[in-house]
C-alpha cells in the first residue's frame, strides 16, 4: 500500500468538540454564571475518577476478563459500575465537600455539569485526539523511515484514518454524536449531584447514579455495530437529560435566590486570584523570563547536539528530550505567586482581608491558583517555543515527545509546584521572617525541585507503563499532600499566623 497522509476531516471531530465545550461554558457564563470553582471542582472530581478507574483497571481488568470470559453482561457491569462509583459518586463527593466549604452553590449546578463534560470531551478525548492527529499528520508529512513505520502500523490498527471523504465524514459524525451523548450524561449527573447536596434531596443522587451505567453498553459495540451503538447511547443520554431537567424544574427556579447568601465568597476569591495573578506576573517576571529563556536555550543545545550525532535513532531522541528538564525550570518560573503571598503577609494586607471576611483557606487557595496560572504560562510558552525551535532547526516531532509532555512534564510540574507553594505558604506562616536561602521561598524551591528529581532519577529503573505508574504515583502523592495541607491549614491555621510582624 502506498504511503499517504490521514484524511484531514478527522481533525473536525476534536475541533468541533473542543469548540462546542468551550462555547457552552462561555454561553453559560454570559447567560447565568460559571465560576472558576465550578471548573476546578469538576476537574478534581473528573481527574480523580479517571485516575481511580485507571488504577482499578490496571490491576483488575485482565484477571476479571479471564474469569468472566466473554460474558458481556459481566464486562458491561464491570465498566458501568466503575463509572457509577467513581465518576458519579466522585462528582457527588466533590460537590458535597465544596458545598460544605461554601465554594459551590445551587446555581453552580449547571456549570459543574458543563465542567465535567468539558474535561471529558474537550480535554481528555478532544485534546488528546487533536494532539494525536497533529503528531500523526506531521510525522507522515515529514516522510522518511519513521513515517513509513507509523503508516504501516496505522494501516493495520486504524485503517479508517486513510479512508475516503464519505467514510471519514461518517466516522466524524459518529464521534460527534458520541461526544454529545457524553456531554448530556456528564451535564445531567453533575447538575443532579449539586442539587442533591444543595437542596439536601437524596433522590437527585439516586437519579444520577444509574446514569453512570451508560458505560454498560460500551462492550456491546461489536455486537450492535457502530451505528446502532451510537444511536442507543444518544437515546439513553437524551433520556437522562430530559429526566434531569424535568425533575429539577422547581429547584432550578429557586437556585439563584437560594445562593445569594454564599455568593460573596466566590466573588472574593475570583477577585483575589485576578489581582494576585497580575501581581505575580510582575513580581516574578525576571524568574519567568529566565526560565523560558533557559528552556529555549536548552532546546537549542539539544537540537545542536542532535545534528552532530550520526546514527539513525539518536538525533530524534536527543532533540526531543527537552520535556524532561522543563519541570525543574518551571519551578523557578512560578515563584511569583509565593512572592506575592510573602509580601502581602509582611505588608499587613492579610490583616485587612481577614477583617473583610476573607478566610485563611481563601488566601491559600488564591495563591495556589495564581501559581498554577503561572505554571500554565511558563509551560505553555516553553513547550510551544521548543516545538517551534525543533521545527525551525529541521527536526521532526514524534509521538514519544508528546507522550512525555502529557504524561510526565505537565502532571509532575503542576503537582510539584502546587506542593512547593502550599509548603512555602505554611512555612512562611508558622515561622518568623528569615532572609536568604533559608527563607520560605528558598526552602520551598527545594521542595518543588525534589519530586521532579526523584522521578528523573528513578526513571532509569521504571520503563514503559511502569514509568507511567511512577509519575502517576508521585503526582497522586503530591496531590494528596497538597489537599491535606489545604485542609489542615483551613482547620488549624490560626488567623494570627497571617498577621504582619510589624
Amino acid at each position: 500500500m502506498r504511503m499517504q497522509n490521514i484524511n484531514m476531516l478527522y481533525f473536525l471531530s476534536p475541533i468541533v468538540m473542543i469548540a462546542f465545550s468551550i462555547g457552552l461554558i462561555a454561553y453559560w457564563k454570559i447567560k447565568k454564571r460559571f465560576t472558576i470553582w465550578a471548573l476546578l471542582l469538576s476537574l478534581v472530581a473528573f481527574a480523580g475518577a479517571i485516575a481511580l478507574k485507571y488504577v482499578v483497571q490496571y490491576f483488575t481488568a485482565q484477571p476479571f476478563a479471564e474469569v468472566v470470559g466473554g460474558n458481556l453482561v459481566a464486562l458491561g457491569l464491570y465498566f458501568g459500575l466503575q463509572t457509577v462509583f467513581f465518576e458519579v459518586g466522585g462528582a457527588y463527593l466533590a460537590a458535597k465537600i465544596a458545598f460544605s466549604y461554601g465554594k459551590i452553590r445551587a446555581d453552580d449546578a449547571e456549570g459543574y455539569g458543563l465542567g465535567l463534560a468539558f474535561w471529558e470531551n474537550a480535554v481528555l478525548i478532544g485534546g488528546s485526539a487533536l494532539l494525536n492527529f497533529i503528531v500523526i499528520y506531521a510525522t507522515l508529512a515529514g516522510g522518511g523511515s519513521v513515517a513509513q513505520q507509523l503508516f504501516d502500523s496505522l494501516s493495520v490498527s486504524s485503517p479508517e484514518l486513510f479512508s475516503s471523504t464519505f467514510t471519514a465524514l461518517q466516522q466524524v459524525g459518529f464521534s460527534v454524536i458520541e461526544r454529545v451523548s457524553s456531554l448530556f450524561l456528564h451535564f445531567s449527573w453533575g447538575l443532579l449531584c449539586v442539587f442533591a447536596v444543595a437542596f439536601k434531596k437524596n433522590r437527585f443522587l439516586l437519579l444520577a447514579l444509574p446514569m453512570g451505567l451508560a458505560d454498560f453498553i460500551v462492550v456491546y459495540t461489536g455486537v450492535l455495530g457502530i451505528l446502532n451503538f451510537e444511536l442507543l447511547l444518544f437515546a439513553l443520554s437524551l433520556l437522562c437529560i430530559i429526566v434531569t431537567l424535568w425533575f429539577t424544574k422547581a429547584e432550578r427556579k429557586n437556585a439563584s435566590s437560594m445562593s445569594l447568601s454564599i455568593s460573596e465568597g466566590s466573588m472574593r476569591l475570583t477577585s483575589l486570584v485576578k489581582t494576585n495573578f497580575k501581581r505575580a506576573l510582575s513580581f516574578g517576571s525576571v524568574y519567568l523570563i529566565i526560565c523560558i529563556a533557559l528552556s529555549l536555550l536548552l532546546g537549542g543545545i539539544l537540537n545542536g547536539v542532535a545534528s552532530m550525532v550520526t546514527d539513525a535513532e539518536s538525533p530524534a531522541i536527543i532533540s526531543q528530550s527537552f520535556p524532561l528538564i522543563l519541570p525543574l525550570l518551571t519551578v523557578m518560573g512560578s515563584f511569583g505567586g509565593l512572592m506575592v503571598f510573602v509580601s502581602d503577609r509582611t505588608k499587613g494586607v492579610y490583616e485587612y482581608l481577614i477583617a473583610y471576611g476573607v478566610n485563611v483557606s481563601e488566601i491559600f487557595w488564591s495563591t495556589l491558583l495564581t501559581t498554577l496560572g503561572l505554571v500554565t504560562i511558563t509551560l505553555g510558552i516553553s513547550i510551544i517555543g521548543n516545538i517551534v525551535l525543533l521545527l525551525l532547526m529541521g527536526g521532526t516531532m514524534q509521538l514519544a515527545m508528546f507522550e512525555l509532555l502529557l504524561l510526565y512534564t505537565i502532571p509532575i510540574s503542576y503537582a510539584s509546584i502546587a506542593f512547593m507553594t502550599m509548603a512555602g505558604m505554611i512555612w512562611s506562616s508558622i515561622t518568623r521572617r528569615i532572609p536568604g536561602v533559608n527563607s520560605p521561598i528558598g526552602i520551598a524551591t527545594l521542595l518543588g525541585i525534589g519530586p521532579c528529581l526523584v522521578v528523573l532519577i528513578l526513571s532509569s529503573f521504571f520503563t514503559g507503563s511502569s514509568f507511567l505508574l511512577l509519575v502517576g504515583g508521585v503526582t497522586l502523592i503530591l496531590a494528596v499532600l497538597v489537599v491535606a495541607m489545604l485542609v489542615v491549614a483551613n482547620k488549624s491555621m490560626n488567623r494570627e499566623r497571617l498577621l504582619s510582624e510589624a
Binding site: S271, R279, S282, A502
Partner: protein, 294 residues
C-alpha cells in the same frame, strides 16, 4: 463593667459592640484579660493606653482577626468572627496594608472588590481624600503622610455601623492629622467609632467617651471629662544659643514649658517670637498618658 446583658442575637436589642469577659492574645499568651464593656450609643470612643497596653489586640479581637481565648466579642449581636459581624464593621490598622506594586487606584479597587464596594465608591473616596494626583502613582512612591491618607481612604469605601481606627494619625504632620480627625468626626454621625490613641489631648479633641486600657485590663470606661491631667509639657528648641525666658527647665536642647493644654501652644509661640526667640522646633515632651498611669 458589664454583667447580665439582655442578649438577643442579631436584633435591634443587641448592643452595637459587646465585649464580655474577653481574654485574648497571641499564641496562647494573654494580652487582654477579662475585659468587659458594652457600647449602645453612636459616638467616638477613644481607646487610650500606653504602647503595649493591648489596644491593637482589643481591635484585632473586635475585628474577628483574633479568636478570644474566653468570653464573647460581638458586633450587633453576632460573634465578631462571623460574616454578619464583619459586614457591619470596618477596620484601619496602624499598618498601611497596601498590596506592593499596585497603583493607588488599583489598590483601592482591590479592597473595594473584597469589601463589596463599587467603582463609584472608589471615585468618591478619591474625591473625599483628594487623592486625584496620587491615583496612578505606585503606593511605594508616596510619602508617609500620603500613604496614611490612602490607607485611611479604605474605610470610606463602604458605609458601616462600626469603625475601628487604630492610631489613624500616627506618623502624620499636625495639619494632616487634623484633616483626618475632621474626616473621622464627619464619619462618626450615627456610627460607633473606636479610635485608639496614646495622646490624651488628641482624645479630648475628637471624642467624648473613653476606654482606658492598662496592662491588658480595662482601667476606665466613661466620659473623657472624667480624666484630668495636671500639666501639659512642651519643649522648645531654638536656632541660636540664646536664653529662653520663662522656661521652667531644660531637657537636652529643649527648654521646658508647662501649659494647661495644647490650645495654649500658639499663644506661647507668639510670646516667644515677640521676645525675638528663634524657634527651631516645638514638641510634646512627655506623653500625658504616662502621667495618667502613674
Amino acid at each position: 463593667m458589664v454583667e447580665n446583658y439582655p442578649y438577643t442575637s442579631g436584633t435591634s436589642l443587641s448592643p452595637v459592640v459587646l465585649f464580655d469577659s474577653v481574654s485574648s492574645g497571641y499564641s496562647g499568651r494573654k494580652v487582654l484579660e477579662n475585659v468587659s464593656f458594652q457600647i449602645d450609643e453612636p459616638a467616638i470612643y477613644v481607646v487610650l493606653g500606653p504602647n503595649g497596653a493591648g489596644k491593637t489586640t482589643l481591635f484585632r479581637t473586635l475585628a474577628g482577626i483574633l479568636k478570644p481565648y474566653s468570653g464573647r466579642a460581638e458586633i450587633g449581636g453576632y460573634s465578631s468572627e462571623s460574616q454578619q459581624a464583619r459586614k457591619q464593621l470596618d477596620y484601619l490598622t496602624h499598618i498601611d496594608g497596601m498590596p506592593e506594586g499596585m497603583s493607588v487606584i488599583n489598590a483601592l479597587r482591590f479592597y473595594a472588590n473584597i469589601a463589596g464596594a463599587t467603582e463609584t465608591d472608589v471615585q468618591r473616596v478619591i474625591n473625599i481624600l483628594d487623592l486625584g494626583d496620587l491615583s496612578f502613582k505606585r503606593f511605594g512612591q508616596l510619602s508617609q503622610g500620603q500613604k496614611k491618607r490612602v490607607s485611611v481612604g479604605r474605610i470610606f469605601l463602604k458605609e458601616k455601623k462600626v469603625y475601628l481606627l487604630d492610631e489613624p494619625t500616627s506618623n502624620m504632620d499636625p495639619k494632616m492629622a487634623g484633616d483626618i480627625r475632621d474626616l473621622v468626626l464627619r464619619l462618626s454621625k450615627d456610627k460607633v467609632v473606636l479610635y485608639s490613641s496614646h495622646n490624651l489631648f488628641e482624645a479630648r479633641e475628637i471624642g467624648s467617651k473613653v476606654l482606658v486600657i492598662k496592662n491588658g485590663k480595662l482601667a476606665l470606661f466613661g466620659n473623657i471629662s472624667d480624666i484630668k491631667t495636671e500639666k501639659y509639657t512642651i519643649g522648645v528648641r531654638t536656632l541660636g544659643a540664646e536664653e529662653v525666658p520663662n522656661a521652667f527647665g531644660k531637657e537636652g536642647d529643649y527648654y521646658l514649658f508647662e501649659l494647661s493644654g495644647p490650645q495654649e501652644v500658639p499663644r506661647l509661640i507668639s510670646k516667644l517670637l515677640a521676645k525675638n526667640v528663634q524657634i527651631r522646633e516645638v514638641k510634646e515632651m512627655q506623653n500625658p498618658l504616662e502621667e495618667l498611669f502613674k
